[in-house]
C-alpha cells in the first residue's frame, strides 16, 4: 500500500484481492478503547501469517486524561510485510479511528489515498467539541484525500450482542467495550486473516468469565462478517510471507526480551537472578515480567525508592547473585551514587535504563536517546563503567547476555540502554537455541581460598589480563574483607589517602574498562558495495530506521555504509579507523548530538550530526532525505570520487 509497493490484483468471486508487499496500519482510540490489545492481536495474527513486522505503540502521557480528548488518545501502529523490514513504517496506509479525537490527532499522518475507518457513532457534537474539532472533519473537506469507511462500530457491536445484554449475561457497558474486537474483525477480514487464533486467545483470557469471552468472540466475528457482507469493501488485501531466516519465531517486545535475556544470563552463569526495582514508566514491565519467573530462581524486590533498588542490587551482588536494577532516566539519576559505589567495590551489577524523554519528568511515555551522556558520565569523580545499547526489541535479549558477560568477567557495574520505543514495540524474533547461548559460567569463579602470599585474602589483587579483582563471597572462611567507597591501596584494598596512589587507581579504573574493548570481536560494517564514501553511524534503536534508509538509498543506486554500535563504553576500538575510511560520516540520534560530540572530541573527525527529539523514532524517509542532503555527491561512492579527482 506504500508508494514503494507494487501490488498485483487478483479478481475473486466477490471482490478484488490486492496482493501487497507491505502495509502500515494504525489503530487509534481513547485510552479505554483497548487499542493496544487490538494492535497486539493483529500483530500476533501477522506473525502467524509469516510476515516480518515492527510495531510502535504510543501511549497517552496522562493516565487519566479526560475521555474523548486528544490528550487521551492511545495508538498502536503495525508495519507488516512479505520482506525484511526494520521500522514501524513512516505514514500509515490505514487508520482506524475510534473517536473524533483519534481522528484529529492522527489524520495528518495518513498517507494520501489511505484508508480511513471511522467509528461514526462517536461523531456527535459533544465528542467533536471534546476533540477540539471546530467543524466536523467528515464534512469540512479534511478527508477528501482518503478512502473513508464510516462504520457504526459501537452500534454494530451492541446489535451483535443484543441477546447477551437482554439475557443479563453481560451489561450494556461490557457489550460496548467489545467494539475494539469488532474493529479487529473488520480489519482481519480486509487483510484476509483468520480470526481463529484471536478467538482461542479470548477464550483463554476470559476463561473465568465465559460470558465476556462469548461476547468478544461474537463481536470479532460480527466485524469480520460485516466486512464480508457489505459492499463497501470492494478490495481485500493480502501480504505474503516474508523470507526470514529459517527457524522458529515469535513476536517479542523489548521489555519482554530484556527480562528473558536476564533470566537466560543468570541461567547460563549458574547464578540466582536478583532484581531490585522501583516502578517507573516505561521500565516497569521488566519488573512485572521477572516477578512471574520466580521458578527460574528469580528474586524480585520492589524497593521503597530507586536508591534502595540500586542498593539492594549491590547487596545481592556482594552475596553472589547476578544482580540487576531496572529504571528510566529520572530513576537512574537517583541510582547514580550507588553506581559510583559499585564502581569502587568492583562488583558486577546490571543497570538497565529504558530511556524516555527528559529532562526531569520530561515525556514519560515517549522515546528518546538522551541519557547517553548520563550513562557515561553522571557519577561524581572519574568513574568509568561499560555501557551497552540494544538495537531492536529482540536484540535486547542478546544485549543483556553481553552486559552480563562484561559485568561478570570484569567485575563492574554495566549500564544497559534501551528506550521507550524498543521497550514497547515488537518484532518477530527468531527463538535462539538455548544451548548456543554464551556460557557465562566461564566468565568468573568465586574465590574459595585466600590468594595472598602469607595466607591472607587480598580482595584487590587483580587478574593481570582483565584487571578483574577476586569475587570472594561472605560465607567463605578466610576471605573476610571490607569494601568501601573510599580510595584504596592496591591488593589489600586498605584505605589510602595518598595522592599518587589515587592517580594510579584512577588510571587503572579507566584501563580496566578500556581493556574490555580490546577483547571485542571486530566491528561489523554494512557496506555491500564496498566502495561507499558515506558512513552512517548509529547506536541503539536507530538501527531500524538507518538500515531502512540505507536500503532505500541502495535500491536507488546510491552507495552508503552503516555501522551500528552496541558498545558505547568502551567505544569499539575499530570505530575510529572505520570512520577514517569514509569521506562523510553522518550520525543521527534522538538527542541533541551526544555521541556525535563525544566522537568528534575523541577523534577530531568532522562528524555531521542529525538530531530530533519529538518523542518518536526516526522515519526512514526522513533519514533518506537527511543522508542525501548531508552527503550530496558522496553517495556516488569512492570510485566516483577517484574519477572526479582524476
Amino acid at each position: 500500500m506504500s508508494a514503494t509497493t507494487t501490488g498485483s490484483t487478483e479478481t475473486g468471486p466477490d471482490r478484488d484481492r490486492v496482493r501487497l508487499h507491505d502495509a502500515v496500519i494504525r489503530f487509534a482510540g481513547d485510552s479505554g478503547d483497548g487499542m493496544q490489545l487490538t494492535g497486539d492481536r493483529f500483530t500476533t495474527e501477522s506473525g502467524l501469517a509469516g510476515n516480518d513486522l515492527v510495531t510502535f505503540p504510543d501511549y497517552p502521557a496522562e493516565i487519566r486524561a479526560p475521555a474523548g480528548t486528544v490528550a487521551g488518545v492511545s495508538s498502536f501502529q503495525l508495519h507488516f510485510s512479505d520482506h525484511s523490514i526494520h521500522t514501524a513504517g513512516d505514514a500509515p496506509d490505514m487508520l482506524v479511528a475510534m473517536n473524533p479525537a483519534a481522528l484529529m490527532k492522527h489524520m495528518g499522518d495518513l498517507k494520501p489515498g489511505g484508508t480511513l475507518i471511522l467509528n461514526s457513532d462517536e461523531f456527535d457534537e459533544r465528542s467533536l467539541a471534546k476533540a477540539g474539532a471546530v467543524t466536523d472533519p467528515r464534512e469540512d473537506g479534511a478527508l477528501v484525500d482518503f478512502t473513508v469507511h464510516e462504520v457504526g462500530l459501537t452500534s454494530l457491536t451492541l446489535r451483535a450482542l443484543e441477546e447477551d445484554v437482554a439475557s443479563g449475561a453481560i451489561t450494556k457497558k461490557d457489550a460496548a467495550r467489545c467494539k475494539n474486537m469488532l474493529a479487529l474483525g473488520l480489519v482481519s477480514f480486509m487483510f484476509s486473516r483468520p480470526t481463529t487464533g484471536t478467538e482461542a486467545w479470548l477464550r483463554e483470557k476470559f476463561a473465568a468469565k465465559p460470558a465476556l469471552a462469548d461476547a468478544n468472540v461474537k463481536a470479532l466475528r460480527a466485524g469480520f462478517n460485516y466486512g464480508d457482507t457489505t459492499e463497501a469493501f470492494t478490495f481485500t488485501y493480502e501480504v505474503g510471507r516474508a523470507e526470514l531466516p529459517p527457524g522458529r519465531y515469535r513476536t517479542i517486545s523489548g521489555n519482554q526480551a530484556s527480562a528473558y535475556g536476564l533470566v537466560a544470563a543468570a541461567q547460563r552463569a549458574g547464578l540466582p537472578l536478583f532484581l531490585g526495582s522501583y516502578p517507573i514508566t516505561p521500565a516497569s514491565d521488566i519488573l512485572h515480567e521477572l516477578a512471574k519467573l520466580k521458578h527460574f530462581g528469580v528474586t524480585t524486590f520492589q524497593a521503597e525508592d530507586e536508591i534502595a533498588a540500586m542498593g539492594s542490587a549491590i547487596g545481592a551482588a556482594f552475596g553472589g547473585a547476578l544482580a540487576v536494577t531496572t529504571s528510566s532516566g529520572p530513576g537512574i539519576a537517583l541510582k547514580t551514587e550507588g553506581i559510583g559505589l559499585a564502581t569502587m567495590y568492583e562488583l558486577p551489577v546490571l543497570v538497565v535504563n529504558v530511556q524516555r524523554g527528559g529532562p526531569s519528568t520530561g515525556l514519560p511515555t515517549k522515546t528518546e536517546q538522551s541519557d547517553l551522556l548520563q550513562a557515561l558520565f553522571s557519577r561524581n569523580g572519574e568513574a568509568p563503567i561499560p555501557v551497552v545499547a540494544a538495537k531492536s526489541p529482540g536484540d535486547a535479549f542478546d544485549t543483556m547476555l553481553e552486559a552480563a558477560r562484561i559485568a561478570l568477567t570484569y567485575r563492574t557495574p554495566v549500564m544497559i540502554l534501551t528506550d521507550g520505543y524498543l521497550a514497547n514495540s515488537a518484532e518477530p524474533w527468531r527463538i535462539p537455541d538455548v544451548d548456543t547461548l554464551p556460557d557465562l559460567s566461564a566468565a568468573f569463579a568465586f574465590t574459595t581460598a585466600p590468594n595472598g602470599d602469607d595466607g591472607e585474602f587480598l580482595p584487590f589483587r587483580r587478574d593481570p589480563e582483565t584487571l578483574a579483582r577476586p569475587w570472594g563471597l561472605p560465607g567463605t572462611a578466610g576471605l573476610e574483607h571490607r569494601l568501601g567507597g573510599l580510595e584504596k591501596a592496591p591488593d589489600t584494598g586498605d584505605l589510602s589517602y595518598d595522592g599518587a596512589n589515587h592517580h594510579a587507581m584512577t588510571v587503572l579504573r579507566h584501563e580496566r574498562i578500556a581493556r574490555i574493548g580490546a577483547q571485542l570481536p571486530p566491528l561489523e560494517v554494512d557496506d555491500p558495495s564496498g566502495d561507499a564514501d558515506v558512513l552512517v553511524v548509529g547506536w541503539g534503536s536507530t538501527d531500524g530506521p538507518i538500515r531502512a534508509a540505507c536500503h532505500t538509498l541502495r535500491e536507488d543506486g546510491r552507495k552508503v555504509a552503516h555501522v551500528q554500535l552496541r558498545h558505547l563504553s568502551p567505544i569499539h576500538p575499530d570505530l575510529e579507523g572505520i570512520m577514517r575510511r569514509y569521506g562523510t560520516v553522518i550520525l543521527p540520534e534522538n538527542n541533541m548530538g551526544q555521541l556525535a560530540m563525544l566522537l568528534r572530541a575523541r577523534t577530531l573527525i568532522d562528524i555531521q550530526a542529525y538530531n530530533r527529539v519529538t518523542g518518536a523514532p526516526f522515519l526512514s524517509s526522513e533519514l533518506v532525505e537527511v543522508i542525501t542532503r548531508m552527503a550530496g555527491a558522496g553517495l556516488d561512492g569512492r570510485g566516483a570520487d577517484a574519477r572526479r579527482d582524476a
Partner: protein, 340 residues
C-alpha cells in the same frame, strides 16, 4: 552458598577484631560498643565468615573496618538497602547494620523506615550522639530544640525525632535502647537483639566527646542517673530510683507518667515487650521524648512476626518446586511459527 568453614573452634573477642587501627577520638563512646559487639559475637558462637557488618557514612559507620568479618562501608544513609539485598539473597548470613542519627534518621530515614516495617532479618544498631561528628559538629535530627552547634548559632529550631518512637511507629518487631557507658546492659540488650529473628532495632546513646560531650548527662551523670534511668524488665512492674521510689503508671488517656511509687497503687505498668500491639510500648517511649528526664532503657518490644526475606525465599522455593526452570520452554511459548 553456605559457609565452607564448619569448624566449631570457640573464638574469642580478638578473633573478631581486624588489624586495622581504630581511629575514633580518644574517649569516644564507639570504643565501648565495638568491644561489646566483638565479645558478644565470640560468646554467641558467631562465625566471622558468616557475619557481615554494613554501615553508611559517619563516625559510627567506620565500624565494619574494625571487625574481622565481612563488611561494607557504603554510602550515606543507604546501608539498610544494601543489607536488605544481601539478607534477602543470603539466608545463611548474620547481617548487621551500623548507623547513626544523621545517617539513619536524616539522609537515610526512608530506608530505615522501610527496613523496619518489612521486618528484614537484620540487626540495626543506631548510635545516637545527637550530633554530626564526622563533618565536625552540626546539629542532627535528634538534637534537642535550642541546641547550639556550628550550623545553629542561635539554637536549633528543628523538633527532634525519638528513634525508639519512630521504630515503634513503623511496627518494628524488636525495639530496644541502651547506652555506651553501661557495658553490662549493652551486652544484654544486644544479645537479645541478635537472638531476635526479623529486624531488631537498638538505639544506643553514644557520647561524642569532641562535639557534643555529656549530651546524655541526665541519664549517665553520677548524681542524676539513678533518678533518670528507667530499666525495663520483662514481666516486672516499672519502678526505678535508688529505692524504687518512682513508678510508671498508665493514665486514662493512654499515655504514661511517672508518679511516686507510694501513690501509684495498682496503676503501675507491668512491662510486657511481647504485647502484639505496639501502643503501650509507644506510650512508654513518649515518657522521654528527649533524654533529659526519666528515660526507659531495655527492650520495648519483642514480638514474632513473619520475616520479609523468609517470605520472599519461600515464594521462590514454592515456584521452583512447582515448575521447572526450562528456558527453552519459556522462550518457545505463546504464538510461535516456523520458517523453513
Amino acid at each position: 552458598m553456605s559457609a565452607t568453614d564448619t569448624t566449631t573452634t570457640p573464638l574469642t573477642r580478638k578473633d573478631f577484631a581486624s588489624d586495622r587501627e581504630v581511629r575514633w577520638c580518644p574517649g569516644c563512646g564507639d570504643y565501648a560498643i565495638l568491644a561489646t559487639i566483638q565479645t558478644l559475637l565470640a560468646e554467641v558462637g558467631a562465625r566471622p565468615e558468616s557475619t557481615v557488618f554494613v554501615s553508611g557514612i559517619g563516625c559510627s559507620s567506620r565500624f565494619p573496618y574494625y571487625m574481622d568479618t565481612f563488611g561494607l562501608h557504603t554510602i550515606h544513609g543507604r546501608a539498610p538497602t544494601i543489607a536488605t539485598g544481601l539478607a534477602t539473597s543470603r539466608p545463611d548470613l548474620d547481617v548487621w547494620v551500623v548507623t547513626g542519627d544523621g545517617d539513619g534518621l536524616s539522609i537515610g530515614g526512608n530506608h530505615l523506615l522501610h527496613a523496619l516495617r518489612r521486618n528484614v532479618n537484620l540487626n540495626i544498631l543506631l548510635f545516637n550522639n545527637e550530633i554530626y561528628g564526622l563533618t565536625k559538629g552540626q546539629y542532627s535530627p535528634t538534637s534537642p530544640l535550642g541546641a547550639v552547634h556550628k550550623s545553629t548559632p542561635m539554637g536549633s529550631v528543628d523538633r527532634p525525632l525519638n528513634p525508639v518512637s519512630l521504630a515503634l511507629g513503623a511496627e518494628a518487631t524488636f525495639v530496644a535502647r541502651s547506652i555506651d557507658a553501661d557495658r553490662k546492659h549493652l551486652m544484654e540488650t544486644l544479645t537479645a537483639a541478635h537472638a531476635h529473628r526479623g529486624t531488631s532495632f537498638v538505639e544506643i546513646y553514644q557520647n561524642c566527646v569532641v562535639f557534643n560531650d555529656d549530651a546524655f548527662i541526665q541519664v549517665t551523670g553520677r548524681d542524676t542517673k539513678q533518678h533518670n534511668q528507667i530499666r525495663l524488665t520483662q514481666g516486672e512492674p516499672i519502678v526505678f530510683g535508688p529505692d524504687g521510689e518512682h513508678a510508671v503508671v498508665a493514665d486514662a488517656d493512654g499515655s504514661m507518667s511517672v508518679v511516686p511509687t507510694a501513690e501509684a497503687g495498682d496503676r503501675i505498668v507491668v512491662h510486657d515487650a511481647t504485647r502484639e500491639d505496639p501502643t503501650t510500648a509507644f506510650a512508654l517511649s513518649r515518657l522521654a521524648p528527649t533524654p533529659d528526664r526519666p528515660t526507659p532503657f531495655g527492650v520495648f518490644r519483642d514480638v514474632d512476626a513473619p520475616v520479609y526475606d523468609d517470605l520472599v525465599r519461600d515464594q521462590v522455593a514454592r515456584a521452583t518446586a512447582a515448575k521447572d526452570a526450562d528456558l527453552r520452554a519459556l522462550l518457545d511459548a505463546g504464538n510461535v511459527w516456523d520458517v523453513a
